[in-house]
């Protein structure tokens, strides 16, 4: 697994999904898919996370929460948007309170397709994000140390 980050701690946020994608995310942790063999661990603390998994679209209530979680994550970090809802709002996109996909709030690195997304493709998306994380880690190592703000601007306002 050269070129891929080998330790990926994940924080999972359910924006406004139907829970279908969330169940598939949890399925990744079961013995059948066993995400831990790639070094993936699900944590509840954004400060300890490398990867943000978002399921569901963004609405007017949770947009701030999403930004806050993203803001608390230290660099290097990456975001994976799971399912049709996280891409565009999906079946909920016409709802009065839905603003759209995850990208309307925070930058997204990998989109996982599906409604619901399959565990195999979620794992694939996570590993693609792991490659991005690795690149960022290498880039950050050469970057000046003053860029501590990764962890941060929005996070401090919590």
């Amino acid at each position: 697994m050269g070129g891929v980050e080998r330790s990926i701690w994940i924080v999972h946020y359910d924006a406004s999904s139907c829970n279908g994608c969330d169940i598939e995310v949890l399925a990744c942790l079961t013995p059948v898919y066993d995400a831990e063999r790639f070094g993936c661990i699900v944590t509840g603390d954004p400060k300890q996370a490398d990867l943000l998994l978002v399921t569901g679209g963004v609405n007017n209530r949770n947009v701030e929460v999403l930004k806050s979680i993203y803001g608390q994550m230290p660099e290097p970090r990456a975001v994976v948007a799971i399912g049709a809802c996280a891409y565009s709002g999906g079946v909920f996109s016409e709802c009065y309170n839905v603003c759209g996909g995850v990208a309307t709030a925070i930058p997204v690195d990998v989109y996982v397709p599906g409604c619901a997304a399959k565990p195999e493709s979620i794992l694939d998306g996570v590993l693609r994000a792991a490659a991005i994380l690795k690149e960022r880690r290498v880039a950050l190592r050469s970057a000046p140390r003053n860029a501590k703000k990764g962890s941060t601007e929005e996070g401090a306002r919590r």
Binding site: E36, R37, G44, D45, P74, S151
Partner: protein, 289 residues
């Protein structure tokens, strides 16, 4: 300056402690995964995790967190250093307690409600296991007539035969000290959400890395204490250590987390029944010698 073997072992602990501790953690995670029917992470996963944690860029949540955690690490390493250097084990207990207190202070300082609950639970666990630690040392002293690691090590009769009750009590608090279920109230070793992570909530990046590192050091000297009980022959020591290690992981996987009342009560009952129940007759028998 004369270098004794003790000094070398103590320095070896400081240098190799993280490697041994990390490997213990790696085997632990694989075994846990296998017990759950999973493949589990690679053996070196704890080292990948640690190197990743240290590469993270994160501002500490306040000015006190880092000094507290660094002090925690220093005192944990000092505990192990003094232990392997052959210092008085009674002194070591105080250093160990101080190390724990620094961790609790660090958790309190973050201001996170999860960390505060974790810190309170850690204090309760300390209350629960401290009596048994003291009884263990008194038992070891009574058997070997010494508070020195190497002199206890040199005792000819296997301590496990003289102190079976003390060993059971030690096993019980080992589960607490290693943050294993059913006593992982303060913080858990597995992937978990806010409340269960407790103590380490709001610690990220390098700060969490230092906590991990301290925990690895800690597990090394905790298993060294277990080793003392089987030290009469190499074979017995290997079997004893592996069996203890396996048992702790098994318990971790087959039990559910208990409430703090149950943790405190059961620890004290075990201390009283197995610990004191072993020590008092043993003291009366060996008193004359």
């Amino acid at each position: 300056m004369i270098f004794r073997t003790e000094n070398l072992v103590a320095i070896g602990f400081v240098v190799l402690g993280p490697i041994i501790g990390g490997l213990i953690a790696g085997v632990d995670r694989i075994l846990t995964a296998r017990m759950q029917g999973r493949i589990g992470p690679p053996l070196l996963q704890p080292f990948y995790d640690l190197s990743k944690l240290f590469s993270k860029r994160i501002a500490p949540v306040n000015r006190l967190q880092v000094p507290f955690i660094v002090s925690h690490l220093i005192f944990v390493v000092l505990t192990g250093f003094l232990f392997f250097e052959g210092s008085d084990i009674l002194l070591i207990i105080f250093v160990l307690t101080l190390a724990e207190v620094f961790l609790v202070l660090a958790a309190y300082s973050t201001g996170s409600p999860y960390a505060a609950i974790g810190a309170e639970r850690e204090l309760l666990l300390m209350t629960a296991y401290e009596p048994m630690i003291i009884l263990t040392l008194v038992g070891l002293y009574q058997a070997a007539k010494s508070f020195n690691f190497y002199e206890i090590l040199a005792s000819t009769t296997p301590l496990i035969l003289q102190l079976p009750g003390i060993y059971i009590g030690l096993l019980f608090i080992l589960v607490m000290k290693l943050q294993k279920s059913p006593f992982d109230l303060a913080t858990s070793h597995h992937a978990h959400q806010e409340l269960v992570k407790g103590l380490t909530a709001d610690m990220g990046g390098p700060v969490l890395g230092l906590v991990e590192l301290a925990h690895w050091y800690e597990s090394v000297y905790l298993y060294a204490i277990v080793f003392l009980f089987f030290s009469s022959s190499m074979l017995a020591a290997c079997i004893g250590l592996v069996a203890t290690f396996f048992f702790v992981i098994l318990i971790d996987n087959v039990t559910a987390r208990v409430k703090w009342q149950a943790a405190l009560a059961s620890a004290w009952i075990i201390t009283l029944v197995a610990g004191a129940g072993n020590l008092v007759p043993f003291y009366l028998i060996t008193r004359g010698h």
